[in-house]
């Protein structure tokens, strides 16, 4: 038994090293002087950490990385807020109200999960182009204001909340909207956290859509901007490329550690859906 536990930890630690080592390397190289050649494994820890790289990337490069960063923040926060409201309302409506065509409509939401992204990219681009939305925040935000997956997730959660709670609130004279906004949505907080986490990561790390929906540098998100940065600095400046990569990853890591419980619970929920 003890041998087995020991082997388990040994295997997990080896795997952890395999997963984490590249990140450690990334941070170490980002601290080498700009334009320095890739260090050999022995000389990975820089004699004098070049913290100035972070200043260079964020404020002084010819690519507006700070602008990319704020674009990503604006787009992700708007999408998260929109989805909590829009998907929350829909999840609640599907879970708690009866109306003609409900099952059929919910089926349409589920069906859309199948083809999302594959066939819609070109028509949505042409549609937004004809509306004059390309290269604006609207093009980056509005297509992400709702998602069928989150409607599904929240509906499942609202269905599990006992009806007595609702009846009690109704007795106290709460109207439909007040009931939803003040009672039900706060009760669904675990599911809402999961949705917020999913949306944040999906939007922050989305690459293909912002790549085609924006053209000017001032509208790029960080994910696309990093790609622009990479081609701008070419394979010659590894330290600065790694600095820009770290700048992209740190907000993601912070949010992940903050929301990790909601995140992993959501993946599990997704896995159990029928």
């Amino acid at each position: 038994m003890r041998v087995r536990v020991g082997l388990t930890y040994a295997a997990l630690l080896a795997l952890a090293a395999f997963l984490v080592a590249p990140f450690v390397w990334m941070v170490l190289v980002s601290l080498h002087p700009s334009r320095a050649p890739i260090p050999e494994l022995g000389g990975l820890v820089p004699a004098q950490p070049a913290w100035g790289n972070y200043r260079t990337v964020l404020l002084e490069s010819n690519v507006p990385v700070d602008r990319f960063f704020w674009n990503s923040v604006i787009v992700s926060v708007a999408a998260v807020a929109g989805q909590i409201l829009v998907c929350g309302m829909a999840g609640y409506g599907f879970a708690r109200y009866r109306f003609w065509g409900r099952e059929w409509l919910f089926g349409a939401f589920l069906a859309s999960l199948m083809f999302a992204g594959t066939v819609t990219q070109i028509p949505v681009f042409l549609m937004l182009r004809s509306w004059g939305w390309l290269d604006t925040f609207a093009a980056l935000i509005v297509p992400s204001l709702s998602s069928a997956f989150n409607v599904f997730l929240l509906r499942q959660f609202f269905r599990q909340i006992p009806a007595e709670l609702e009846d009690a609130a109704r007795m106290d004279g709460a109207g439909d909207w007040r009931l939803f906004w003040r009672v039900m949505l706060p009760m669904a907080r675990p599911a809402v956290t999961t949705c917020a986490a999913f949306t944040f990561f999906a939007v922050w790390t989305d690459f293909l859509w912002p790549l085609i929906a924006t053209q000017s540098q001032r509208m790029r998100t960080l994910e696309v901007g990093l790609s622009v940065f990479q081609s701008g600095y070419g394979p010659t400046n590894w330290p600065l490329q790694m600095t820009a990569s770290v700048v992209t990853l740190v907000p993601l890591l912070l949010v992940f550690l903050l929301l990790q419980k909601g995140f992993i619970r959501g993946v599990t929920l997704g896995g159990l859906k029928e």
Partner: protein, 293 residues
């Protein structure tokens, strides 16, 4: 229907209205619009779109480059999905044990999956570099140029996808393992079955729904791979990594052959639909054969 019921039905419809409008505008209508585009010859730059019927789909019939990219994507999925599933199940068996620190390991293994795809791809360009890349350095200066070798580039992308995809697959397997009925395991133990036999005779077949979910979602994800190809290889060398997601992107946004790209994406959708159905059928078959259904 009473007045109150009618009132409630109206309120319910109001609650689902915003999401429904969004669904229609950004998912349902675009599918129809996409088909309409595929039946035309849409010239984005000139603003013309003459109706051409099924000509775009006929073009596809003789397009070796497109079917080649579908084939490469199938090979890529074949390399990354089964190995990725086995790896994820193995790790899940380890971290699902009631031992200290398992939650930390689960979180740690998830990190690559929530990282920026572009940053990860830039990192792996380095890992695969011939001179001072991490792998060649660890192998002792072998100088293999993974991403520029037509034989090795695609397997290199598949290997990287194992690293990125481990976390989500593992978490789904952990959930599947924790949901297994403990009574069956205890009964098998009482029968004197050893751990390896218990795994193959009980755990593995009972996990069939989880296998199916991971298989279908991983296959779809493999067929939609875009960011690593765009960032690391741009389809090179000699088209060895020209996966179908990237191929469609190039058709639409580099050749501006939008209608042809729409036809290609329809074919991809059909391929994914057929693959999913086949996988579900096969898994159902094995489920019944093992008597675990």
């Amino acid at each position: 229907m009473t007045g109150i019921e009618r009132q409630r039905a109206r309120t319910g419809r109001l609650f689902v209205l915003p999401a429904t409008v969004h669904l229609v505008v950004f998912a349902l209508a675009p599918v129809l619009f996409s088909l309409w585009i595929a039946l035309r010859d849409w010239q984005v730059l000139r603003g013309e779109s003459p109706f051409v019927g099924l000509a775009q789909f006929q073009r596809l019939g003789g397009d070796g480059a497109f079917w080649g990219s579908v084939g490469k994507t199938a090979v890529y999925a074949g390399m990354s999905v089964p190995v990725g599933m086995a790896l994820a199940l193995g790790v899940a068996l380890l971290v699902a044990q009631p031992l200290r620190g398992m939650a930390t390991f689960r979180t740690l293994f998830y990190i690559p999956a929530v990282s920026s795809g572009v940053a990860i791809s830039i990192l792996w360009i380095y890992i695969y570099l011939p001179d001072r890349g991490l792998i060649n350095a660890l192998l002792g200066g072998t100088g293999i140029d993974f991403l520029n070798d037509p034989q090795l580039a695609l397997p290199a992308l598949a290997f990287m996808s194992l690293w990125v995809g481990l976390g989500p697959r593992m978490i789904v397997y952990v959930a599947g393992l924790l949901a297994l009925p403990t009574s069956v395991m205890e009964a098998a133990e009482l029968d004197g079955a050893g751990p390896i036999r218990r795994f193959w005779a009980v755990t593995f077949p009972l996990l069939a729904p989880t296998h199916l979910f991971v298989l279908v979602t991983s296959t779809i994800a493999a067929f939609q791979t875009f960011t690593p190809v765009y960032t690391m290889t741009q389809g090179r060398p000699m088209g060895a990594t020209d996966l179908v997601g990237f191929h469609i992107y190039e058709t639409a946004w580099r050749s501006f052959d939008v209608s042809y790209a729409a036809a290609q994406s329809f074919v991809l959708l059909v391929i994914l639909g057929v693959l999913s159905v086949v996988q579900i059928r096969l898994m159902r078959g094995s489920l019944e054969a093992s008597g675990a259904g």
